[in-house]
């Protein structure tokens, strides 16, 4: 299952027409202790680079953008009970939502793991 990354620090796992989205370990590290995650409702149609979710850390609220256009099919209910999952397991248990990809061509231009690592090292 290929994983892509955005320069806004989201990751996206792609399996056929379905994608799972979360924020990277680097992003959660920068945000600090996360106390609330506001997820899109199932059925919401997201535009690539548009607002998708909001992460509230102790100190601030931060927007999370959709790495790709599509319709939200599922959200991670575990984050309601335990938002700190984003800190403890950002790239696995702490995923945000799944969507059905409307245009796989939008994946072009996203970074792979190696590219993202180089990007983060350059920050």
């Amino acid at each position: 299952m290929p994983r892509y990354y955005t320069d806004e620090h989201e990751w996206i796992d792609v399996e056929g027409d379905s994608a799972t989205v979360g924020i990277t370990d680097y992003a959660q590290e920068q945000l600090g202790d996360i106390v609330f995650v506001e997820l899109p409702s199932v059925g919401t149609v997201l535009d690539k680079a548009g607002d998708a979710a909001v992460v509230e850390s102790v100190k601030a609220a931060s927007d999370v953008y959709a790495p790709i256009s599509g319709e939200v099919t599922e959200t991670n209910g575990a984050l309601e009970e335990d938002p700190a999952l984003v800190n403890s397991s950002p790239e696995e248990e702490g995923w945000f939502f799944r969507l059905s990809i409307s245009d796989t061509a939008e994946l072009e231009g996203l970074m792979d793991e190696k590219g993202y690592k180089a990007f983060v090292d350059s920050l």
Binding site: G32, D33, V35, F36, E38, V54, E56, S57, V58, K59, A60, A61, P83
Partner: protein, 382 residues
């Protein structure tokens, strides 16, 4: 340099412990004109450590000022300062400190500050972001015979938490005998420390003024004690919010007055009657409004359900009516739910009034709650 030639953003200053923080992995951010540590291992961990043990905060960005009277007139500085704030300073005994407010003629709050009678002079600690304006205000209004010194070669460390007393007594014998809002001069490592039993976290603790060339050694000695960990300004902010303490520039501004800001405790009773300070007439007017129920707004505490915080700028509603605005807010690590301070129309300021905060078009139920949100644990003596 004329005003037009001033660069829009002045370069950030470096404080004495800058390298010390970086060596310990602090994340540094611009604050009040300096690079300051916002956090080390994480705000919640640092917050909880402060509530259960002791944390070392660097607050060297704050302004440390000294007002000295001429020898011929030893009470001049106190008399002069009393013209600018509503607290009683002339009767402040050596070693005692008082929280007060610099006021405009209209009763607007220029800054909040701590004033200590050191015995030889008055020591002022003012907010970092306000210090240059405060210095200008003081220079403009104080008698020329009062000497104002900006003690910018001193660092200021805050050791805060329930174990702060035993830690500092161990390192600097005698400090454990200080009680809340008293201060004294102590010797340490061949130099002097000016130690105040105060802070802005709601916990017992100290603020320690130390010459900058001894600041690293003192910080090292404090964190060498396993009961002490360094903490950043992020935790300091969440602690002071839980303690119900207002933050200048957010909960207090030049457009707020002491009565609306719920700081009537800082209005000395004797001076309320006698007057003689900037803003006195306006303050009396607000006090009369408070008694007659015509005060426009009041600072209140809000408790929110759920986990979504309402932050500074969030509008407060009662039904469809906008009745106020959040001036600072966040998630309370101690209580496990969001809390906020807000200015609301005085008719909605009573405890348990049910209101709503609007966050991203969502209405969050909030109830007016007495402050502090988390009880203070100051050391007032055995």
């Amino acid at each position: 340099m004329s005003e037009e030639e001033l660069p829009e953003e002045l370069p950030l200053g470096t404080l004495p412990l800058d390298a010390w923080h970086r060596d310990r992995g602090a994340r540094m951010v611009p604050f009040a004109g300096y690079e300051m540590p916002i956090q080390y291992e994480g705000i919640v961990a640092e917050h909880e450590w402060t509530r259960t043990s002791a944390s070392l905060f660097d607050v060297s960005h704050m302004g440390q000022l000294a007002l000295k009277s001429p020898e011929i007139d030893p009470t001049l500085a106190a008399r002069e300062l009393e013209k600018l704030l509503p607290g009683a300073i002339t009767n402040l005994k050596p070693g005692k400190m008082r929280y007060s407010l610099l006021l405009t003629e209209d009763g607007g709050i220029i800054d909040d500050l701590m004033v200590t009678n050191t015995g030889s002079h008055l020591a002022l600690v003012v907010n970092g972001a306000c210090k240059w304006d405060d210095i200008a205000h003081l220079r403009e209004h104080l008698d020329d015979d009062v000497t104002l010194t900006h003690l910018d070669d001193f660092a200021l460390l805050a050791l805060q938490g329930p174990r702060a007393g035993e830690v500092l007594e161990n390192l600097v014998p005698g400090t454990g005998a200080l009680t809340f809002m008293t201060a004294g001069l102590f010797e340490w490592n061949g130099g002097h420390l000016w130690v105040s039993r105060a802070g802005y976290t709601g916990e017992d603790g100290f603020e320690i003024a130390v010459q900058e060339d001894k600041a690293e050694a003192l910080a090292d000695a404090l964190v060498a004690d396993e009961r002490v960990k360094p903490a950043g300004l992020g935790a300091r902010d969440s602690l002071r919010l839980e303690a119900g303490l207002p933050l200048y520039g957010h909960d207090l501004t030049i457009d707020t007055d002491p009565v609306s800001a719920d700081l009537t405790f800082a209005l000395s009773k004797k001076r309320r009657e006698a007057g003689g300070y900037s803003g006195h007439t306006a303050v009396l007017g607000r006090l009369a409004d408070l008694e007659s129920g015509t005060l426009a707004q009041r600072r209140v505490g809000l408790k929110l359900d759920g986990r979504l915080p309402a932050r500074e700028g969030a509008e407060v509603f009662s039904g469809d009516k906008k009745v106020g605005i959040v001036t600072s807010g966040g998630f309370s690590p101690t209580l496990g739910h969001p809390i906020a301070m807000a200015f609301v129309d005085a008719a909605y300021a009573a405890p348990e009034t049910q209101l709503e905060c609007e966050v991203r078009n969502r209405r969050l139920p909030a109830s007016v709650t007495p402050m502090p949100f988390v009880p203070h644990r100051y050391f007032r003596g055995n």
